[in-house]
């Protein structure tokens, strides 16, 4: 699992590369717990290279969801593989989180 950050103005793009399982979700939790992340208005998660997400990985996003919502920070997933999207959908997270098809769409939603 590789997690990389890219900053564009008030947007932070987090790229997930690999499998988000119980051990790598700790890294993700650290990245999302960084106080600095609250200074951005948008968090874009690039899921293009995310091959698998475990319940622990989902749990990390879920645990931070409320916090970002309260701080009015938008959390947007894009480029998600069908397999991973299916996991989100089964759990019902597609209705709670914003999942869009590509980067452009993500940027337009983020700018609204």
């Amino acid at each position: 699992m590789k997690i990389t950050n890219q900053i564009k103005d008030t947007t932070i793009i987090i790229t997930l590369d690999g499998e988000l399982d119980a051990s790598s979700s700790v890294m993700l939790d650290e990245a999302l717990s960084d106080p600095e992340i609250m200074t951005y208005s948008k968090i874009l998660v690039d899921c293009n290279d995310l091959n698998y997400i475990s319940s622990a990985g989902l749990g990390v996003f879920i645990s931070h969801l409320q916090r970002f919502e309260d701080a009015q920070i938008k959390l947007i997933f894009y480029n998600m593989q069908d397999k991973v999207r299916n996991v989100f959908e089964i759990l019902g997270l597609d209705l709670l989180m914003t999942i869009v098809s590509d980067y452009e769409e993500a940027m337009t939603i983020a700018d609204e």
Partner: protein, 691 residues
């Protein structure tokens, strides 16, 4: 044992008889010589035969009793010779003195008495020689090799062969036998170089053994002198110095005693070195064996401290042990002739030099101004940290009151000690850890048993539906669960769930969920209402990153339908026999514990479905569809659905087995599955329940 006892008593008897006969014969001859003034001894061959029998009997007896001597109590061996053999010499001297006193006092020459004394002394001599001969044999053969064993055996045979000369009444001192005697002498000399046992004596023991050896030598001298005096004496009818065997045996015993004496004497100065080495070795052994003997770390440190102080002959020392991870957790656990005040000062100085935890040797403290200012009574210092690659266990400080106190040899020994200690301590900790792990495993086993009891093994068997279940946890305890509750005669509630994560915490939440299920369903509520209330209940106790997916089905066979709600759980697979079609129920529903307020109520849907007889419902957890093949493909919903289209006509149990077999084919033979797997197959039956 019986044989040995018998042989011993046989030897004693034959020795006594032969000696008595010999005595009688000699006295008889002396009497006749006295009367007829003739020097001829009657029946010399009989006499010689008796001598040989006596010698063989005594030697044979001693050979057998010498076998009892075992072990490395060499002083005991020497004492054995002295007490049982050497005393004989002093007895013979005493006897001779008494004889002289008696003859002087009465001024009567009594050849009979003289012969008697001579004869008794002969017996004592043989006793002494036999004893010494066989004790020396034990010592020569100490740490023996094959060569020495053979050499000795031949020597013994050769020596006893010389008895033949006596038997045949040859004079051994004749010229023909001289070279032979010379050769035997050399042979004896060679055997006398086997003195390994002397090296094992400590300084004190060497001192004691020197005294004993001297006493034995003296005994040899007394006998030799006595029999030499009487050699070719005109007063006697018999001369035992003619017996070559005795001469050779005496030569051997005396030579070996002398050799042992000299070697012990000259090895006295070096014995302390040998002692130290053997003690070091013993201490190494003790250190390395301390694990098997179940000793604690403290005992290991005790051993290290004792051994190093002795090995280095240190005049002062202390040992610091670090407890815990913190730097300040230093414990002064050993102190030898040094004040705490002095330790504090030295430590302070070392801290200033920044060398407190590294290997450090200073063989001339006076040359260092810092140490000179401390005005310590010591001149050499060595610091030995006890540390592995990862861990610093402690530091050992040794001080000596002389310069150049720690030479390379000593330092090597000390380092070996500390290295061995590190190994021992680390092994001790490993053993301790593995014991701890063993206990955790035991407890996990219990947890696993408890959890197993939480999952129902038997569903109510009824004529209107059949059910088959499969459950396999990835670890000892898992997060998957299912359960049922008979709501009324015609209605049954079935729940399946999956707690995020695995292991103990998941197992706890699973138990919680089971409690919630049983508690809430007592009130018989619709599935969606159950999900709302369950979410509410879980919101308060589930940790932030955990959530639970679940699905609840309430089957009503009177209505021939079921109601269900899905909370983020895997879609239900269904086979409809009327339409001959398999599909997944696509309903919305958010997992439990994701939204922890009332807004969750908008995220759960309820569905009602009428079933037909022979319809099949497959309920499962994500461990099934997300199971991986060796090539990292997922089993997937499609393959599961395909399996159902192939097997729906079978009974529930067979459908389940078919799916599990296919799944195991897919994943291949693995011991550890990636996630918990749970599968329930429900088949509705056409027959109506009996009235």
């Amino acid at each position: 044992m019986l044989y040995r006892t018998n042989a011993k008593s046989l030897f004693i008897t034959s020795a006594l008889i032969s000696w008595s006969l010999l005595l009688a014969n000699v006295l008889l001859a002396a009497e006749s010589m006295h009367r007829e003034s003739s020097h001829a001894l009657e029946l010399p061959f009989v006499n010689n035969f008796l001598i040989v029998v006596f010698i063989i009997s005594v030697f044979g007896f001693q050979r057998m009793s010498a076998d009892n001597l075992k072990g490395i109590d060499f002083i005991g061996y020497l004492w054995n010779i002295f007490a049982k053999g050497g005393i004989a010499a002093y007895l013979s001297v005493a006897l001779y003195m008494v004889y002289r006193m008696v003859t002087n006092y009465s001024s009567v020459q009594s050849p009979l008495l003289l012969h008697m004394v001579y004869q008794v002394n002969f017996g004592l001599l043989v006793l002494f020689l036999a004893k010494a001969f066989y004790v020396w044999r034990q010592l020569i053969l100490y740490h023996k090799n094959k060569f020495i064993q053979i050499a000795w055996d031949w020597y013994e045979i050769l020596l006893f062969a010389t008895l033949m000369l006596t038997l045949l009444n040859f004079n051994y001192s004749s010229l023909i036998f001289l070279p032979l005697l010379g050769l035997i002498g050399l042979y004896t000399l060679f055997l006398c170089t086997n003195l390994k046992w002397v090296a094992y004596l400590t300084f004190n023991k060497k001192g004691r053994s020197l005294i004993l050896l001297m006493a034995i030598l003296l005994a040899c001298f007394i006998f030799a002198d006595f029999f030499n005096d009487f050699a070719d004496s005109p007063l006697l009818v018999i001369d035992y110095s003619d017996v070559g065997f005795l001469l050779l045996a005496m030569f051997f015993v005396a030579l070996y005693t002398l050799a042992a004496f000299l070697v012990a004497l000259f090895s006295l100065p070096t014995s302390s070195v040998f002692e130290q080495k053997s003690e070091d070795l013993l201490n190494f052994q003790r250190l390395s064996q301390s694990i098997q003997q179940g000793q604690s770390e403290k005992q290991v440190y005790d051993m290290l401290f004792e051994s190093t102080v002795k090995a280095a002959d240190a005049s002062a020392a202390w040992l610091e042990i670090f407890r815990g991870e913190k730097k300040d957790g230093i414990e002064l656990c050993h102190q030898l002739t040094i004040e705490e005040e002095q330790i504090k000062r030295i430590r302070h100085l070392l801290l200033a030099y920044n060398i407190q935890h590294i290997d450090y040797i200073n063989n001339n403290l006076d040359r260092n101004p810092g140490f000179r200012d401390l005005t310590l009574p010591w001149k050499s210092l060595i610091i030995l940290p006890i540390k592995s690659k990862k861990h610093l266990f402690g530091v050992l400080y040794l001080l000596k009151d002389i310069e150049q106190g720690f030479d390379r040899e000593t330092v090597n020994v000390l380092r070996t000690f500390t290295n061995q200690t590190i190994l021992t301590i680390e092994n001790l900790r490993l053993v301790h850890e593995s014991l701890q792990n063993e206990r955790y495993k035991e407890e996990l086993k219990i947890a696993s048993l408890v959890q197993d009891s939480l999952i129902p093994k038997k569903f109510p068997s009824d004529s209107w539906f059949e059910i088959a279940t499969h459950a396999k946890a990835a670890k000892e305890v898992g997060g998957d669960f299912y359960d049922f509750l008979q709501l009324s005669e015609s209605r049954i509630a079935i729940i399946i769930g999956d707690v995020s994560g695995k292991g103990i915490s998941a197992a706890f939440h699973m138990a919680q969920m089971k409690g919630i299920f049983h508690g809430l369903m007592q009130q018989d509520m619709p599935p969606s209402e159950f999900m709302k209330q369950a979410n509410n209940a879980l919101s308060r106790c589930l940790e932030k990153t955990s959530f639970i997916t679940s699905a609840l089905y309430i089957i009503d066979y009177r209505m021939k339908g079921f109601m269900f709600a899905r909370a983020g759980h895997c879609h239900t697979l269904y086979y409809n026999s009327m339409m001959d079609d398999t599909f997944y129920f696509q309903t919305d529903g958010l997992g439990l514990g994701i939204i922890r307020d009332k807004s969750y109520n908008n995220h759960v849907r309820e569905m009602y479905y009428d079933y037909n007889p022979t319809d099949v419902m497959v309920i499962y957890t994500d461990g099934i569809v997300e199971a991986r093949s060796p090539t990292n493909d997922e089993y997937g919903e499609d393959r599961l659905r395909y399996m159902l289209t192939q097997t729906y006509h079978l009974e529930a149990e067979d459908i389940k087995c078919a799916i599990i077999n296919d799944l195991e084919d897919f994943t291949g033979p693995t011991e550890n599955i990636y996630d918990d797997q749970t599968l329930l197959v429900i088949k509705f039956k056409p027959t109506q329940p009996s009235e």
